[in-house]
Structure formats: C-alpha cells, structure tokens
C-alpha cells in the first residue's frame, strides 16, 4: 500500500480523535467555568490567520498551485488528494490553510508522515507569517527529509534547457529542468528536478490523445544531474544550456522545500500547456513569490517560452553551454584531416591495433586526437548497439590504455564554440503580412504560424535544417476581384534535414498534413487536402549549408479530382545556405507524378530568401515557377514577419 494513502488515513482518524478531545474539553469547561482553559494554540493561530487574510495571499496560492476559475473562485492545478489536508482543499484556500495549521499540531505519527514533514514550505511560510515559536510545534523526526536536504545542500539554482535533437522531433522543442547546486565545484553531482509524464503507452495515437487531454499523470523527480547529462548529452546528443537563476540562499531554500512537498504528488500532464516547462514555473515562484510566471503563459507552453519569461523577469544569468557528445565528436573530427578521421574510424571498428594507430610521421598530438576520437566513436557504437558489452569493454580499454601513455596534451583543444543561445532566437509565434502576384493577379497575404520554426526562419537559437510547424495558416485577398481565399492551412508540418558524414549517417525526412490551394490539371486553382511524407539524405554543401534529396509520396483529396482523390510519388531536391548572419537562401525543386485518381505531372522550382532584421523581425522574398500539364504558374511573394 502506498505510504501516502496510509498517512492520509491516519491523519483523518487523528482529526476524529482531536475533535473528541475538544468535545471533552468543552464539557469540562461547562462543568467548571472557574478553571477557564485558554483556547488551544492551533485555534488561536487559525483565528490570527483569518484576521490577517493569509488564505488570500499570493504565497499561499503559489504553494497550493491555485488558479482563478471563471466563476471567481480558486482551484488547484494539482488533483492528487494527498496534496491537501482538507477534503475541500482543492477548491478552498481558507479551508486548506486552516486544516494545514491544525495539521501541524497533530500528535506525533510515524517518521516522515506528519504534515510538518510532508509540507515543509507551507510550514516555513506559516511560521514566518504567524510567528509560531519552534517549541510550540510537536517534535517530529523527518529523518529522510533531513538527510535529503543535507545531501542536496542547495546553494544556488540553475534552469537547464536541453535543446531539441536535429533528427528526433520528439525533442524538437527541447525540455527544461532545474538544478540545485551545492558547495562542490563540479555540478555533475548536483541534483536535478525534473517534471515528466508517467506515460508508457506503446500506441502512438493513444499516447497523443491521452497527452493532449491530460490523461497522464505528471510527477516531479529529483536525481543526480549526471544522469540527465548522460541521458541528453551522451545518449540523445542534445546540447544543453544552463541559466543560473539570480536567487538568494533563502529563495533557493524555499524552492527546494516546495520541491519536497511535491514528492509522489501527481498532477494531470497536458502536453501543450501544463507540461514539464510550465510546472517548473511553480518552483521558481515558490522561491520568489513576487514573480508572476505561471499566470503569464499562453495556450501552450514551449520550453523556450519559459526561458524567455524568466529572462524578462530578470532572474537568469547568461547561458552556459554544455555541448553534447555529438557536438564534441564533430569538433574533434574537424581537427583531423581525412586520413586522421579514417584512422580513428578504423580503430573504433576494431580493424587496427591502437599501438600501431600512429601513422608514420604523425605528431604525438595528432595521435592523441586520433585515439580520443576513436574512444568517443566506440562509445557511440555501443550506445547504438553495434557492439556487445564484452566487445565494447575490450576495445574501449585497449584504445584508452594506448592513449594513457601519451600525456595530456593541450587543455582546451576540444572546446566547442557555443552557438547562439536559445534566448537569442526568434519568438515562437510568427505573424506575417505582405503581398505578391500570382499569374498576374495581385494579392495581399496574412500569415500566422502559431508554433514554432520554419526552415527559412532565422536559425539563431534553433536547430539548423529542422522545421516544426503547427497550424501554419495563410490567407490571401485579391482586391481586383474582391476575392478572399485560404492559401494554406497545415495542421502539422515537420521536416528534418540532417547532413551525413563519415561519423554520422542520419536519415532526413518530412511529414505534413493540411490544406493547400494549388493549380489543378486544367491549370485552375483549387483547395485540396494533402498528406505528404518523404525520406532521403542530406549532406553539407561546400559553402557550409545543407543539401537534401528526398523521395516523397503525396496524397491529395479534393472536389476537382476524378474520384475526389489523387496520389503519386515525387522527388524533391533542395539547398539551404546561410549566406551571411542575416541572409538565408533556399533553392528547391520538386516534381510529382500523380498516377492515381487524377493523372497529372507537376513540376515546381522555388527560390526563397529570408533577411533577418532584428531578433524578432525578418523579411521573406519567395519566387516560384510551376508547370502543371502545360499550364505555367508564376508567383512572387514578399512578407514581413514579426515573431512574438
């Protein structure tokens, strides 16, 4: 049986005993009015709290995660009954406050189960506000909590942002967690607080449905930071950014105490808004209740949004960059020529002897670099399960033993230069306005991209070559014919072009679903619904950009097709170049042959450019030429984008 359940029952039965005692006292008072016993300590405190209006103070609302309801009342975002001492606690801040005060004076219970142990942040705040002398409270051990506080020994707190992974959309938005730093110099052994859904469904659809509708439970967890670094940095190859929070020791203590209150407490996890990033905001607010964070978020909360929110409130320092193993490998490889890289790969594949690894004439430094890169690659091969554990151990040690004979070498050789931090990136909502000409018809265009990043948007702070968009919508209006139409509405539009090289061989792919207005067989425009997916390869271009080639399948549905549907294979080729910091150029060619439903061949070429003006302003210029069954369509669009 879960201990929380146990303790709740005990608390309940104690409340009954308590009222029995009061009843007896009351009777005694009636019998002997001369010996007027003073009202009990908790009753006095409750009366004082009531007169001070403590239950309506923001601190209390933060600690209980209350939010205002439409009816003007309050409701906690936490649904777990174990989080409340009053049965009405979720909706009634007063009742919960009074039950909490009373709870603190309950007789001793098993170690750790007393409200004093379970709600240390509430206790601290109420002690402060009501001036409860320490001696007045019952003695409680709280052994586990004391040990935990000692182990964590929090001196400062850090907001950590692991970025998305280039080829794994599961993480394209990134993630946030908090870290408590102790007195040690190293922060690998600090403790991290993470909020995550307890979701184990294997069915993707069920997973999405449950996640969107809050059917999963979310839990806070506390673990050594090195586990998180291993998970994100080493296994998933996601860079991490660490923002130290400008908090005093007292504020850090409050944050940790509130974290402890949330142990084993479940809350509904909503993928879009009440997610990992959102739920961390409560901890920051608990540290400094004058901050307004959790009540400043929108319909959805992206990890980068919370960083921006914290930045606007002036509580974060400059970001510190922690490159992933992937970034480190790229850096190490960049120091070697092709021969050196091949030598490292051969070593990592166990095809050459570490002792003979040194190429004739190579300097000691070059040998070190080859061996270091080889060691990283062996680790990578093991993580990818290309190696069994025993083989890994043998190969790895053999390479390392050779390396250990060659001295340390330069200290900062493998330091990866930090890319622009996430807080340098554009806002996650884009609004565009402009116009253009299509087939000699002038139009005005409005565009809304509610989330998150288009491949053409400025890269700063985002992953290059990746795109993830939800509900991207474009409306057009032609004054000449007084005509308004939907140009496109993409429910989902994801693309990932990830360059392959000697060390990494990722696939590139795309998936999109939504409506588009397009030229049909007869050359006239019509609105169709489309599902488009593709897969292929990408490579680095000689100019540092990304080239890609994808095989695609396009499924269309629309009134103008024979049988209302059309489907066919296609190919797309593209090049994405960051010409300067502020100028991005994209060339794209695509050809589709619709075999089914409505036979037609469509070929299209596009030149698109983005000019970054400021962090949150850019201009797009797009020119395209399309040929559909002998009908040609020329189009030019100019859009001003503002990011929020």
């Amino acid at each position: 049986m879960p201990p929380d359940f146990l303790s709740r029952k005990q608390v309940h039965s104690m409340a009954i005993t308590r009222s029995a005692v009061f009843a007896t006292l009351w009777l005694l008072l009636l019998v002997s009015p001369a010996a007027a016993a003073p009202p009990s300590q908790p009753d006095l405190l409750i009366a004082r709290a009531r007169s001070m209006g403590l239950a309506s103070e923001r601190n209390w609302h933060i600690l209980l995660h209350y939010k205002k309801t439409f009816g003007g009342g309050f409701r906690s975002r936490i649904s777990d009954p174990n989080f409340f001492l009053s049965p009405q606690g979720r909706e009634n801040p007063e009742a919960e406050l009074e039950a909490t005060i009373a709870g603190f004076f309950l007789p001793r219970t098993g170690d750790g189960e007393h409200p004093i142990c379970r709600f240390p942040a509430r206790l601290q705040w109420l002690k402060d506000r009501l001036g409860i002398p320490p001696g007045d409270l019952p003695e409680t051990a709280c052994t586990e909590q004391k040990e935990l506080l000692q182990t964590v020994d929090a001196r400062s707190a850090v907001l950590v942002f692991p970025v998305g992974h280039i080829n794994s959309p599961a993480s394209m938005f990134g993630h946030t967690l908090l870290r408590f730093d102790g007195p040690t110099k190293s922060n690998l052994i600090s403790f991290a607080v993470n909020y995550a859904a307890d979701a184990n469904d294997k069915n993707g659809l069920l997973y999405a449905y449950k996640g969107l509708c809050g059917k999963y439970k979310g839990y806070y967890s506390l673990m050594p930071y090195y586990l998180k670094v291993k998970e994100y940095g080493d296994l998933e190859h996601r860079d991490m950014w660490e923002y130290r929070l400008r908090l005093s020791q007292e504020e850090v203590d409050r944050m940790l105490l509130h974290t402890l209150e949330l142990e084993r407490i479940s809350s509904q996890y909503f993928f879009l808004d009440e997610n990992c990033s959102f739920n961390l905001l409560f901890l920051i607010e608990a540290a400094r209740p004058t901050l307004h964070l959790s009540d400043r978020t929108g319909l959805w909360v992206l990890p980068t949004d919370t960083i921006e929110l914290a930045r606007e409130n002036g509580i974060v320092d400059e970001a510190v960059y922690r490159p992933s193993q992937g970034a480190r490998i790229v850096k190490m490889a960049s120091l070697l020529d092709a021969e050196g890289q091949k030598a490292a790969l051969k070593l990592a594949q166990g095809k050459s002897e570490p002792s003979k690894a040194a190429r004739a004439g190579a300097s000691v430094q070059q040998q070190r670099e080859v061996l270091d890169l080889a060691a990283e690659m062996v680790q990578l091969r093991y993580a990818r399960k290309e190696l069994e554990k025993d083989d890994f151990n043998k190969l790895y040690l053999k390479i390392l033993a050779q390396r250990s004979r060659m001295g340390k070498g330069e200290d900062d050789l493998y330091t990866v230069a930090p890319p622009p931090p996430p807080d340098a990136g554009h806002g996650t909502v884009k609004l565009g306005a402009g116009g253009g000409v299509r087939r000699d018809e002038w139009f005005g265009e409005l565009r809304l991209q509610p989330a998150f990043h288009d491949m053409l948007d400025p890269d700063q702070g985002y992953i290059r070559g990746a795109q993830i968009k939800f509900l991207d919508t474009a409306l057009r209006y032609a004054p000449e014919h007084d005509r308004l139409w939907l140009k496109s509405l993409h429910l989902l539009d994801i693309a990932s072009t990830s360059p392959r090289d000697r060390f990494f061989t990722p696939l590139s792919w795309k998936a999109a679903a939504g409506w588009d207005t397009e030229a049909m067989k007869d050359g006239r425009d019509s609105l169709i619904f489309r599902v488009n997916t593709g897969g292929g390869f990408a490579a680095r271009s000689p100019f540092g950009g990304i080239l890609h080639a994808l095989g695609e399948v396009d499924l269309n549905a629309g009134r103008r097709f024979a049988g209302n549907v059309a489907a066919g294979p296609g190919v797309s080729l593209g090049a994405l170049e960051q010409v300067t910091d502020w100028w991005k150029l994209q060339l794209k060619g695509e050809a589709f042959y619709y075999l089914l439903g409505d036979e037609r061949v469509a070929v299209k070429g596009t030149v698109a450019q983005n000019f970054r003006l400021t962090r949150n302003d850019s201009v797009n210029l797009e020119l395209s030429y399309q040929e559909v069954e002998g009908h040609s369509v020329r189009e030019a669009t100019l859009l001003w984008n503002r990011y929020f």
């Binding site: 993630h175 859904a197 993707g204 997973y207 506390l222 296994l235 998933e236 994801i494």
Partner: protein
Amino acid sequence: MKKLLLGFLLSLAVSGASYAAQAHTNTGCGLGTLLFQNKADNSIVLQVLQSTTNGSFGSQTFGISSGTSECQQPSKIAQNEKLNEFVRANMDNLAKEIAMGKGETLDTFVEMLGVTPGQGDAYKATLQANFNKIFTSDKIVLAEVIDNSVAVTR
C-alpha cells in the same frame, strides 16, 4: 476525405506501436553500464506524436540515491555512497578521461576524493600514468576502480 484522414491516422497508430519505454535500466557495476537503454531508438512516427511532451518516461522517484548495494563496495576509503554511485554511473567516461588526463568527469572524481585544488593536476597526471593499474581488466568493477585509484596515488 474522411477515409484519407482515417488511413493516415491508422498508419500512425500502427507504426507507433513499436515503441518500448525502458528508462533507468541498470546493467551492472563495471564498464559499459548504460543507465538509459533503448532511449534513443524509438520509431520516428511516435516521436512526431511525442513532439510536445518534452518527455522523459516514468521517472517518478525522489531517489537521490539509486543504490549500489548489489555492487562490491570499495574498502580503502571511508564508505561514500555518493562517490560509489557516481563512479558506477560514469565509469566509461571516467576511464576515458583518466586516459586523457583531463575532463569534467575526472575533475568531479578527483574533487569527490577530497584532493585539494592545488594538487589536482599532479593527481590527475598520476592517475593517467597508472591507467593500467586502475583498469586492470575489462571486467573491472567500481569498487576496484576506486580502490586502485586511491592505491596508485598514495
């Protein structure tokens, strides 16, 4: 139209089914201990659906110690569970950085052993020079790594 959508959704549902979440799998006390197995190789489609979860799975613990009780304990220094856990979880990186003579994992290890900052560099150089005496076999376990490290730097 409806059928198309349905077909699209069905294909997602089927391809998403290949996923298996398995976090915190501890597989030993020695080298090659992966703490998060099967985390990196999910099917792409499920990842699409997971795109808004920012999610890790099922880690609902406040376990500030994962415990090394199933591992042999080091003898030469006072019992230090935090150090044992760190070495167990980071043994691969520690081996690499001892061999290289530098790195964050190594710095952490040296700090946890209580080496004063002034002596850190000499200490790390000694560890590197004695790599073969610390990692004596590919079956090495955390207790031996800690004991050997202490022994070679005495």
